[in-house]
């Protein structure tokens, strides 16, 4: 009798255990996805691609400037940190701009998207292809910066999904990497949308922006005929046209202009360091260099938009935050960071045509250059001779135009390296003298974590 009670109790308990066993311990995330639970729906595929752009926001928030301007002659600094390290060519392996973490986060997210989006869109359809195109363009953008900043880099094209995969990857030759960059961008130029019919045209990859980035890659690799081809596609693209000089400043302060080809979007809460870099009244990281200010031609209408010309030091750079902005506190900025715009591609095209040579090409090059000069209120060069008279040769005239038109937009250092003028330009300023010094060192943290990485020779 009493034993029955026990049996009943035991049975109840055992039943509880058995029924509970089956599922109580299987808890998948509710507000996120397990690694194997994502990329199941088309919405997942879209969100995965936005996740790559999110990584791009982190990449460029400060580093577009450290990488593209920090080591070049357009800026000067009164600060002692990263900016002085770069400008005085005193780079070491703890510099923050030598850290590639954010770029590889971007690569990793892109690799996930590129690997799994095809699984979502089993039948090969246009939506899937355009998402894949954006993901590949973003991966290309990341690797293009990686190669330009560090040279040979670890080359990873598959996502990490298991601890069994090799995580200690050594460096791959930069040309191999750039081959994939071209391949990715060619795919994007073919499969991305023509346009989104919204502001997204400026902040997400379209056929046009893929071609524009490809133009940059070809120019870096000195593939001038290819650059002429792709830049032509950009110039013909109805999405893009030059803004008038009255709106020139608004391109940067208001963003989303018709001249813009690809900019990284920011807003009130997803912010960047433009204010800290350029516009914190008395102690911005960078101010325009004396050399650069002196290089501006008389009557250049752009000058007033770019910096505080009222003769008091320090002169804040107003280009992004807008004229008259002088905030003493380094709060984050919300303006987009333009990576590529039409004037940029027009000048690259002019450079390519000039390199190929021939009268027709030179004429077109001159005409492209004059379009930009005229907009700035400068007198056009009637003939190549005028340009030669003023700047020594047409290429130098174009490069000068780039340094004024695209000032502080993160192009100058790469222009100098690409055209082989980095040492001759920076040598007198900071003693830069060694080709091997043109790349950044690999950050000590990365070397510590990966025994298979070898430091760039100059920094060994």
């Amino acid at each position: 009798m009493k034993l029955n009670y026990i049996k009943t109790a035991m049975t109840v308990i055992l039943l509880l255990q058995v029924t509970a066993c089956t599922d109580i311990l299987d808890k998948d995330p509710v507000s996120s996805f397990s690694a194997s639970g994502f990329y199941k729906t088309t919405a997942d595929a879209q969100a995965g691609v936005y996740g790559i752009y999110d990584a791009a926001q982190s990449v460029f928030r400060l580093n577009f400037c450290y990488w593209g301007e920090g080591r070049a002659d357009n800026v000067q600094t009164a600060q002692t940190g990263e900016s002085l390290t770069l400008l005085s060519n005193n780079l070491n392996n703890t510099a923050s701009s030598a850290d590639w973490t954010a770029l590889y986060t971007m690569v990793s997210r892109a690799n996930y998207a590129i690997r799994y989006i095809p699984d979502v869109y089993e039948d090969d359809n246009a939506t899937g292809r355009q998402l894949l195109g954006q993901a590949r363009a973003l991966r290309a953008l990341a690797y293009f910066y990686l190669v330009r900043v560090w040279g040979d880099v670890p080359f990873i094209t598959e996502p990490y999904t298991s601890i069994e995969q090799d995580i200690f990857i050594s460096r791959t030759d930069k040309e191999t990497v750039l081959d994939l960059v071209e391949e990715d961008l060619e795919y994007a130029a073919e499969n991305c949308v023509d346009k989104f019919n919204s502001n997204n045209d400026r902040i997400m990859f379209t056929k046009g922006s893929a071609n524009a980035l490809l133009t940059h890659v070809y120019m870096w690799r000195h593939k001038y005929p290819e650059a002429v081809t792709t830049s032509d596609l950009v110039l013909e693209n109805p999405l893009y046209s030059l803004v008038g000089i009255a709106d020139w400043g608004k391109m940067f302060s208001a963003s989303y202009s018709k001249e813009s080809i690809f900019e990284v979007g920011y807003n009130d809460t997803e912010t960047n360091g433009l204010r800290t870099l350029y516009a914190v009244g008395s102690y911005a990281i960078y101010t325009p260099s004396e050399k650069w200010k002196a290089s501006i031609e008389e009557g250049d209408l752009r000058e007033d938009f770019v910096y505080d010309t009222i003769p008091v030091d320090p002169k804040a750079i107003w280009k992004y935050l807008g004229r008259g902005e002088s905030d003493e506190v380094s709060t984050p900025a919300k303006q987009n960071i333009i990576l590529i715009r039409l004037a940029d591609i027009m000048l690259l095209r002019a450079e390519a045509l000039n390199k190929i040579g021939g009268a027709a090409n030179k004429d077109e090059a001159l005409s492209l250059l004059n379009t930009i000069r005229t907009r700035a209120g400068l007198t056009p060069f009637d003939a190549e001779a005028d340009a030669i008279a003023m700047y020594g040769d047409l290429e130098s005239a174009i490069l000068h135009e780039r340094s004024v038109e695209l000032c502080f937009e993160g192009h100058r250092w790469f222009d100098l390296v690409r055209t082989g003028k980095a040492i001759s330009t920076m040598g007198p300023i900071n003693g830069l003298s060694n080709e091997a010094n043109l790349v950044w060192p690999i950050h000590q943290n990365a070397l510590n974590k990966n025994p298979n990485l070898v430091q760039n020779s100059f920094y060994q």
Partner: protein, 1048 residues
């Protein structure tokens, strides 16, 4: 309550029953003491009847359930509810024995008397005390593990405001540190040191059998890292006892969550008898314990000018640099103040608490009801904490075999906080110390200056911003106990812990520099934990004196947490602070659900031979959803034994020895405190691109993850001497943790910074002693309690792949290194100040071989590798935040109706990294500094240990340079509590129908002996492994309280 438990559970005739066969994993164990009062029929002597009443000698209250036995026989009765008894005794010289747990037994010769009233003295020792253990109770004398017990008497008569601070200094080996002095602030509790690197080091808290949610109650918005006290929601007046389970024998029954010890909290339950009403009130005032010296306006202007002068010296400038602002212009109306901001911001703060309790019941139903209200102002302007608690505990005896009951408590807490945590402009404690003294409070027209020169006015911040945390919490537990057989009991319970927490923040336009810019945020979180626990307890005796016990059970538990929140900008008005008033809902919308569950089987077997030889085994199997499918279940065994050598014949010669016992134990426990979803990897939502929702892989999967395992060995001794007037408990332990869950850094090229793996070993070794003595036990009584715990913590093994330069950087100030304890500070060593430029004989340089050489006025840094360059390679170990020992010393005096209780608490050998002092001695921008700067280096030849302040600090002399200049000895001894009380004599109160009136005055934190130069050495700005850092926490206060206890 302890008496009640005896009555209900054990004071029964229990006879041997045939063993019951139990199957499968269910290994039955138990450790319940049985009172065997075998009644045998009386013999045919001539009988007569004796009656009487048994009372408590101290309180005069009737004592029910006292066993009265005729000596030399087994004939006996028990006293009834009124303490009355009737017993038939044979004629002749009969002796009656009166025994009751917690009281010294008495023998009385009947003689010719027919009425015998007896007053029992409560036993001076607590050795007969029942102790709460995991899933049961045990007589303290039969313990085989290491458990510290704190009873209500330590808590209830003093104005303790929270449960955890009641633990401080009371239990050896338990180090309790208030993270800050803010009302309701977080408290760090470490039992036998740190046993985990990446996972939690907090003990498991169990309230009346309900495992409490305690890990996640940090500030929702993340500015204040001190966290909130998870047990602040429990009224200390409700506490009957707190048990801290320390060794594996005691904790293993809680398996995977027990590696850091288990704190069992038991609340008061009703007792049979007429309703007892108690009313407690206290009111007190607090003030800051210390005032830190800051420069006045004139001294400040001088040091600002010095910083420019020194920078010019660095740069060999020919024309002197002028300060940018009018800051040093004493005639400028914005800059002509002379304010010590501490005197503006700190205040005398009042606190009040009132408690009402009603307890009572009869044989069928018992109840304990209580409610309390606390209103506590913080010493910092505008901070306040209000708490309402209410509790009802009931027990119903449904039948002879079935008892049901419930414990339900509700708490509403409103914590009006100030932002005292972290660094920067928003942290008030730090910002008032560095705020220039010259800033005016008001404009010339009298309106307040809330924002000026990049600095927010702290008065405006405290008074105009909102930082309100409201918590509602229900902890409930319903149980059913079924005595299937007389010695076989089944208990099942269902419990919930429901927390609803909401935090509102608002920063009005008046404290911002941007016109019309205000912002607000709201965060809400609900935590719902439910648990179901079922277990069977079986006790039996075999043969002569062999007692066996068994317990086996099964439990399930589930945690679910939902967080919701929004941030808003550009509110139309500063007066409408809810988010519907926001012009822009910024993108920081939060809505997240996390879930985690666990399923466990557990059991215990115990054996006891006449209390002389004791043994126990425990086993728990825990399955957790946090671990990979292959490693889902962990098994946690323990075994222990004890030998009461005082019962052996050889101990007869040791007359002074009342009781002596040696205990040994070994066992394993675990730690599953890692994030919920790391084993399966995670794609996080919220990686948005502007308004487009994005998702991204954020956690790399590791399906092989498993528990951390802690193996602990314990050797203990319990001694009672001189008729229980001296009690000593000593324990030695070794605690090794392996398979540490650790986020191992991996190359960023993977796209992930870390992967969580099981690596490394940590050990803790230590000893603990507690000594309780009754020094004088007459009309004047004096008793003392002393306890001390020594712990040595060491990181034993870390795999090479996680080390950088031989260590792991742990936050800004600490490293983890093999052979060193957790809490090791690492930085540069300060040797003094160069008196003259030429004193830098070796031309030691800053940063690199081409860096600037140090000159007169610069600090002399220890150049460890002698390369004449001061850089990262010259860092070294500069301190250790863990104490060598900590403990407490209490003395209770009583004479007639007066009582005096003095409690000292101490902590020795720990270092504090005072980031606050760093900030206070670094002229960053126009910050004010401490008066130590008056000794600064001013010109060539000055001999001082205070470097010259330099604007912008190009050589990082002070700027965030982690150095031993800021490491200080954090040892202290504190007069924690002094209470003087007077109980109105019973003869007076009885006439008024009141059973007890007691009035007291308590001083808390009256004196602190320490070399620490900050506000208070009891500080812990980060709740994790970054132990012993003072970032400028809300200071501790000194409090004087007057209180009144009344019982009807």
């Amino acid at each position: 309550m302890k008496k009640r438990q005896l009555n209900v559970l054990f004071h029964q005739e229990i006879r041997w029953k045939k063993p019951v066969l139990l199957t499968g994993f269910m290994i039955m164990i138990s450790a319940l003491m049985i009172f065997s009062a075998e009644a045998s029929s009386s013999l045919g002597f001539q009988q007569r009847t004796v009656t009487g009443k048994v009372t408590d000698a101290t309180t005069g209250e009737a004592l029910p359930g006292v066993t009265i036995v005729i000596k030399g026989t087994t004939t006996g009765v028990a006293s009834d509810l009124d303490g009355s008894f009737t017993i038939d005794v044979p004629s002749g010289s009969t002796i009656l024995q009166f025994t009751s747990v917690g009281y010294a037994s008495q023998e009385i010769t009947v003689g010719s008397r027919s009425v015998i009233d007896v007053a029992l003295q409560s036993d001076v020792t607590m050795i007969e005390e029942l102790v709460v253990i995991g899933y049961g109770f045990k007589k303290k004398r039969d313990l085989t593990g290491s458990i510290s017990s704190i009873s209500a008497s330590n808590i209830e008569d003093t104005p303790v405001k929270d449960v955890l601070s009641a633990l401080q200094g009371r239990a050896p080996g338990v180090v309790v540190t208030a993270n800050s002095g803010a009302p309701g602030a977080g408290i760090t509790v470490r039992v036998r040191g740190y046993s985990s690197l990446n996972s939690g080091n907090d003990p498991l808290y169990v309230l009346d059998g309900v495992p409490l949610e305690s890990n996640t109650l940090s500030s929702l918005n993340g500015y204040d890292m001190h966290g909130l006290n998870p047990l602040a929601d429990i009224n200390p007046g409700d506490i009957e006892s707190i048990e801290v389970l320390k060794d594996a024998a005691s904790t293993a029954i809680y398996g995977s969550r027990a590696a850091n010890g288990v704190v069992l909290i038991t609340t008061k339950r009703g007792k049979e008898g007429k309703a007892k009403v108690s009313l407690n009130y206290f009111s007190g005032v607090s003030e800051i314990t210390r005032h830190l010296g800051v420069l006045n306006a004139q001294q400040w202007r001088q040091i600002i000018l010095d910083t420019y002068k020194n920078l010019d010296r660095y740069n060999n400038a020919t024309t002197p640099t002028e300060p940018h602002w009018t800051a040093v212009d004493s005639l400028n109306p914005m800059n002509n103040g002379d304010v010590d901001w501490q005197s503006v911001m700190y205040r005398k703060a009042w606190q009040h608490q009132v408690d009402l309790g009603v307890q009572g019941g009869n044989e069928a139903a018992r109840y304990a009801f209580s409610t309390s209200y606390l209103d506590q102002d913080g010493i910092f302007l505008a901070s306040n904490y209000k708490r309402i608690t209410s509790r009802l505990n009931t027990d119903f005896k449904v039948s002879d075999r079935v008892t049901i009951g419930q414990n339900v408590s509700f708490t509403n807490g409103r914590n009006n906080r100030i932002n005292a945590g972290g660094t920067g402009n928003l942290s008030l404690v730090q910002s008032i110390l560095v705020r220039p003294p010259v800033y005016s409070l008001t404009y010339p027209d009298g309106s307040p200056i809330n924002y000026f020169n990049g600095k927010r006015n702290p008065v405006g911040m405290a008074e105009e911003c909102t930082h309100l945390n409201v918590t509602n919490r229900i902890i409930g537990n319903q149980y059913l106990e079924y005595n299937i057989l007389e010695n076989l009991m089944f208990r099942t319970s269902v419990s919930i812990d429901f927390i609803s927490m909401k935090e509102d923040e608002f920063y009005p336009t008046t404290v911002d520099y941007r016109a019309g810019y205000n912002w607000g945020a709201v965060r809400a979180r609900t935590n719902m934990t439910w648990a179901n626990e079922n277990y069977l307890t079986y006790n039996t005796s075999v043969g002569d004196g062999h007692d066996l016990g068994a317990m086996a059970g099964f439990s399930m538990q589930n945690w679910k947490m939902e967080t919701t929140g929004l941030d808003g900008l550009y509110f139309a008005s500063d007066n409408v602070r809810t988010l519907n008033g926001a012009g822009t809902i910024s993108n920081q919308a939060v809505n997240r659900t996390d879930e985690h569950s666990m399923m466990s089987f557990f059991g215990r077997l115990s054996y006891n031979y006449k209390g002389r030889y004791l043994a126990e085994v425990n086993l728990r199997a825990d399955g957790s959803s946090r671990f990979g499918a292959e490693n889902r279940f962990g098994y946690f065994p323990s075994a222990s034994a004890a030998w009461r050598f005082s019962d052996e014949s050889f101990a007869d010669g040791l007359g002074f020895l009342t009781d002596g016992k040696i205990r040994v134990s070994i066992g394993q426990t675990g730690n599953e405190a890692i994030p919920n979803y790391v084993s399966g990897g995670e794609f996080a939502i919220g990686t948005n691109y502007l308004t487009n929702s994005g998702a991204a892989p954020t956690v790399m999967p590791n399906q092989g993850l498993r528990w951390e395992v802690t193996t602990q060995y314990n050797l203990g001794i319990d001694l009672a001497m001189f008729n229980n007037r001296v009690n000593f408990v000593g324990d030695f332990y070794i605690k090794n943790t392996s398979d540490l869950l650790f986020a191992v850094p991996i190359p960023e090229t993977t796209g992930f910074g870390y992967i969580t793996r099981n690596i490394g070993d940590i050990s803790n070794k230590g000893m603990e002693f507690a000594l309780n003595t009754h020094n004088i036990n007459r009309e004047f009584q004096w008793s003392s309690s002393f306890n001390i715990g020594f712990n040595r913590n060491k990181v034993v093994d870390l795999p090479d792949e996680v080390l950088t330069n031989g260590y792991i950087q742990n936050g800004t100030y600490h490293i983890l290194m093999e052979g060193q304890p957790i809490g090791t500070f690492y930085g540069w060593k300060f040797l003094g100040v160069y008196s003259r430029d030429e004193d830098n004989v070796n031309q030691v340089r800053f940063g690199s071989a081409t860096g600037q050489p140090f000159i007169g006025g610069d600090p002399i840094w220890d150049d460890v590798n002698n390369d004449n360059v001061i850089n990262d390679e010259d860092k070294q170990i500069i301190g250790d935040a863990q104490p060598l020992f900590a403990g407490g010393f209490g003395n209770d005096f009583s004479y007639k109706n007066f009582g005096l209780n003095i409690f000292l608490q101490f902590c020795y050998g720990n270092d504090i990294y005072s980031h606050l002092n760093n900030m206070r001695n670094w002229v960053f921008a126009y910050n004010n500094v401490s008066t130590d700067a008056l000794n600064r280096w001013r010109e060539q030849g000055d001999v001082t240990d205070y470097p010259a302040p330099v604007r912008n600090d190009p050589k990082r002399n002070e700027y965030l340079r982690v150095s031993d200049r800021w490491v200080e000895d954090g040892s202290y001894m504190r007069l924690k509590n002094v209470t003087f009380s007077y109980t109105v004599p019973k003869s007076i109160t009885d006439r008024a129908g009141i059973s007890r009136v007691r009035a007291y005055v308590t001083g808390e934190n009256l004196l602190t002996f320490t070399h620490y130069t900050g506000y208070d050495p009891e500080v812990n700005s980060y709740s994790g492994l970054q132990v012993g850092v003072d970032e400028g926490a809300y200071p501790q206060s000194r409090t004087v309280v007057f209180g009144l206890n009344v019982e009807f």
